[in-house]
């Protein structure tokens, strides 16, 4: 906390110095203001002047761009006024109806009841039919607000501007997220607009403890980045850490939450991502309720959640909506698939080139006869096929969907069938690679790290067989164990081991049984009391209404 305050103080001193330089700069060069706005916006704070014309002039100079609209008009007793806005960021209808109309009508009708002198506060209080409105006298604040879609109302003789928030622009509607589609559960996904995203989370968690903190990051883009957490659940140190890491970012552009992720992650050199992301409000809400914090970035439907643990990648929102048995089975299946997708090629190579005694005799015979006359050694075979596989996937993703499917089908057919019948690749290898490919899609959060591990293990297996694989797995495991995400061990709850955590690790216990939140994550662990286990009424209790007694049948 102290560090934070000190930081702020230092920041303000810097501002003062910049202010001096800024004023000198303005006297020296009136030209190329626009280029300076980048720094002026965040540094100097010159006030508005009393005269409308000067203000408009200044605004004009700063933002000379043809979507920058200044509408002069006169109202009341010949009072000159103007509204300034960026075309396309405001809802024109509303502005006309609620700002221009009321103001400009009053000089048509007799203005006896008007006060002798109308000052801007009167306008705000009595004349504008707008809810979200604030007075602002700092020049750059005004510019900033206008740039982010407010409408500024200035009038002659006042050094304050009214910032009327009547934003409105074309945006993508809420629809089902492409990355995480579910069979059961809410279909809505985040959009590119920050406010809508926050509203979605708020609709899920109707609680005053749900806090949003917005900071602007990026000297040029001034992107709104919003920290979301539940006060009392999320640890204050965590929030503090996030604030600091965000504050440390010194870049000029933030275009997507991926930028933020790369600026704040713990292990920048690790192939495992220590920051989770999701497109689904319900998932994010659930994580918030576990005591995690979320980071929303304006302009990106992907919401970051921290801290992330490894096992999170194997959980999907659906696990908690369907009943525990099936979802447990599915989860185990995901783990198996993960191991298949990193191990299958390596194991095949190790077995067929080093440990043939492990293969059952009939299988060995068919493998041998399939591998007969194949020009490459098994490693090369596998490497080539894996590479083709990656190419196929990339092509399938990039191309428009119908063509993409065609490509992947054709590729599969060509590379599989043709290569086998041409005797370039053994049929078993094709099967292995196919299994690998399919199972690598079951854990989307780890797909990228999977493909790297897969290649590494394959090489090791090619050189050292089973020993190589074992060594490789050891390295991966040690690395995982050494990772931390925002203070939480990455392998939680596996290591350090927590029994309550295991209820939601490889299988999922019934919801009423998961009494505690993930250990070390939330401030208070208890999620519910033990009495929430459902049970039918005992015979001695009286049956609830609507239950049919045997006699009545």
């Amino acid at each position: 906390m102290f560090r934070y305050i000190l930081k702020k103080l230092r920041f303000y001193e810097l501002l003062k110095q910049d202010e001096k330089q800024q004023t000198e700069a303005e006297q020296t060069s009136k030209t190329s203001k626009t280029s300076q706005t980048a720094q002026t916006a965040q540094t100097a704070q010159p006030p508005l002047s009393k005269s409308l014309e000067e203000n408009l002039k200044a605004l004009q100079d700063v933002a000379e761009s043809n979507d920058f609209v200044i509408r002069r008009f006169v109202f009341g007793k010949r009072i000159h006024a103007a509204i300034v806005y960026i075309d396309g960021l405001i809802d024109k209808e509303l502005v006309n109806e609620n700002v221009l109309k009321p103001l400009m009508r009053i000089n048509l009708l007799d203005n006896s009841e008007l006060p002798p002198s109308i000052d801007i506060d009167y306008v705000k209080d009595a004349m504008l039919f707008v809810g979200d409105i604030e007075a602002q006298s700092a020049f750059d604040e005004v510019i900033g607000k206008i740039l982010s879609g407010d409408t500024a109302f200035l009038m002659d003789g006042s050094d304050k501007a009214m910032l009327i928030s009547l934003k409105g622009w074309k945006m993508r509607g809420i629809d089902e997220p492409q990355t995480e589609s579910v069979v059961r559960g809410p279909r809505e996904g985040f959009t590119e607009t920050l406010r809508i995203n926050t509203s979605m989370i708020r609709r899920k968690i109707k609680n005053t403890d749900l806090k949003f903190e917005t900071v602007k990051i990026g000297q040029r883009t001034k992107t709104d980045v919003c920290i979301v957490y539940i006060k009392g659940l999320a640890k204050s140190e965590l929030i503090e850490e996030i604030r600091q890491r965000l504050g440390r970012i010194k870049t000029d552009a933030i275009l997507e939450s991926g930028y933020i992720e790369q600026y704040i992650e713990d292990a920048p050199f690790s192939i495992f991502s220590t920051v989770a992301n999701s497109e689904k409000p319900d998932k994010v809400a659930a994580k918030l309720l576990e005591g995690r914090a979320a980071i929303l970035v304006d302009g990106s439907p992907f919401v970051l959640t921290v801290p992330m643990v490894f096992l999170e990648s194997f959980q999907s929102a659906e696990d908690y909506y369907s009943r525990p048995f099936f979802s447990s089975e599915i989860r185990i299946l995901r783990f198996v698939a993960f191991f298949i997708s990193i191990l299958a090629p390596a194991l095949y190579v190790a077995m067929s080139a080093f440990h043939q005694e492990l293969i059952p005799t009939p299988l060995l015979l068919s493998m041998a006869s399939a591998h007969e006359g194949i020009p490459f050694p098994a490693v090369a075979e596998a490497a080539i096929m894996l590479y083709f596989l990656e190419i196929l996937r990339e092509a399938g993703v990039r191309l428009p969907r119908p063509i993409g499917q065609a490509v992947s089908i054709v590729g599969a057919l060509v590379i599989g069938q043709a290569a086998v019948s041409a005797g370039l690749i053994g049929a078993p290898m094709v099967i292995v690679i196919a299994i690998t490919a399919v199972s690598s899609f079951t854990v989307p959060a780890q797909t990228d790290s999977e493909s790297i591990i897969r290649i590494a293990l394959l090489i090791l297996a090619g050189f050292l067989g089973g020993f190589g694989i074992a060594i490789g797995l050891l390295v991966v495991l040690i690395h995982l164990a050494s990772l931390r995400s925002f203070g939480t061990p990455y392998l939680m709850p596996l290591a350090p081991f927590s029994r309550s955590g295991m209820k939601d690790a490889f299988t999922r216990a019934p919801l009423w049984d998961m009494i505690r939140r993930p250990r070390g994550m939330a401030q208070d662990d208890i999620r519910q009391d033990r009495s929430s286990k459902p049970s039918p009424p005992k015979d001695d209790e009286e049956k609830p209404k609507g239950t049919v007694s045997e006699g009545s049948l």
Partner: protein, 390 residues
């Protein structure tokens, strides 16, 4: 700097791997000559042995679903032969005639020619126990005359003779239980125990309907590591009764009216306990439990009658007893303790055993045996009475 450091580390790792890039143990599948069966015979000049390795001809064996690729026209196997002084050297010499290195991890059977078996097999076994490649659950067999010929006999069902013999051994011990199936480690066990005599099934070549066929017939008995004699099928099953290794089998008996009935053994269990009587004799009590069903009857009489059942069970008892006694008599006549009575004494009386071990042969001769058989007849199959007019 840090990034550069990381890169350097990666470079080191790659260097290490590439520097060690030997791929020492890696043998591609198409560099292997997969050995399925091995035979050892005496070489022509004394002191040498002749080694036969049956190697799969990968290109020729049929594999499911391969459209023509597998082929399967020619023979599915190749037999390599060579003579030498020791097993290992001979095996290596074979590499001179085969383009690929022999690979033993999937070897199924190991056949000793009669000549070799008679002069002792221990010296040949060592390699198979020591080498990391060979597996210990190989079936040990003894050929009636030469192992080489046995491995050359084509089978009509399987396309690899070794495979054929192996499955014959398994089926044989599973369904008729007339010869014992011995794996390498069991064989080694009995060789390690001084008094126990090792046994192994005998495979012989006989004239089939079309060409020669190889068939399992009888059990070879080793004394020490030398072949001393054979048990015929009856005695072989007797041995299995005692060891409790009978899985199934047909027992023929006669009804009071003298017509033949064949009963199938479904479950059987045998154990023996040995003790030293007061006069220093060894007394072995063999108790055998057997359950079976009525499989077939010639005569018209109704066997589902309880008295008949009791009679048949009695008959079964006698048959089993006679088989066991036959086995024991044969063993005593060969003076080979195939049952491991001595070992049981050793376990029970460690002290006395020290004295007995050396003259166990005589003791085994005058060993007195008591056989308790408890045979049950459970079911009569689908029909209870034969389909004959009353």
């Amino acid at each position: 700097m840090r990034i550069c450091g990381r890169l350097l580390k990666v470079v080191v790792c790659i260097l290490l791997i590439l520097g060690f890039c030997g791929c020492w143990d890696s043998r591609e599948l198409n560099k292997l000559a997969i050995v399925m069966g091995m035979g050892i015979d005496r070489g022509d000049d004394p002191g040498t042995l002749q080694f036969t390795a049956q190697v799969i001809n990968v290109g020729e064996i049929r594999t499911a679903g391969e459209n023509g690729g597998g082929g399967g026209q020619g023979k599915g196997y190749v037999n390599f032969e060579d003579t030498g002084n020791t097993v290992f050297s001979t095996i290596r010499d074979i590499t001179n005639q085969s383009s690929r290195k022999l690979y033993f991890a999937h070897n199924q059977i190991l056949i000793f020619g009669r000549s070799v078996a008679e002069e002792g097999v221990t010296k040949y076994l060592d390699f198979f126990l020591r080498d990391p490649e060979t597996r210990l659950n190989v079936y040990i067999l003894v050929a009636q005359d030469s192992a080489r010929d046995v491995l050359n006999v084509e089978s009509n069902i399987e396309n690899i003779p070794a495979q054929n013999i192996k499955s014959m051994v398994e089926e044989e011990s599973a369904f008729t239980s007339q010869t014992i199936a011995v794996r390498l480690y069991e064989f080694k066990d009995s060789l390690l125990v001084k008094t126990k005599a090792a046994v192994a099934p005998i495979v012989e070549i006989s004239q089939g309907s079309d060409g020669n066929i190889s068939k399992i017939n009888g059990t070879a008995v080793f004394k020490g590591d030398k072949l001393v004699g054979t048990l015929n099928k009856t005695e072989g099953r007797g041995l299995l009764w005692v060891l409790g290794k009978v899985k199934s089998g047909i027992i023929e008996a006669r009804t009071p009216q003298g017509s033949l009935v064949s009963m199938e053994t479904v479950r059987a269990d045998g154990k023996f306990s040995s003790e030293i009587t007061d006069d220093g004799k060894v007394k072995v009590t063999i108790s055998i439990r057997e359950e079976g069903n009525l499989g077939e009857q010639e005569g018209p009489e109704n066997l589902s009658d309880l008295s008949e059942v009791a009679y048949l069970e009695q008959q079964k008892n006698n048959v089993i007893k006679s088989e066991v006694m036959a086995a024991i008599r044969k063993a005593q006549e060969l003076d080979a303790d195939v049952f491991g009575f001595g070992e049981s004494i050793h376990h029970k009386y460690p002290k006395e055993w020290a004295a007995m071990e050396d003259n166990w042969d005589e003791l085994f001769q005058q060993i007195e045996v008591e056989v308790k058989v408890d045979a049950k007849l459970r079911l009569t199959g689908r029909i209870s009475v034969p389909a004959v007019p009353e």
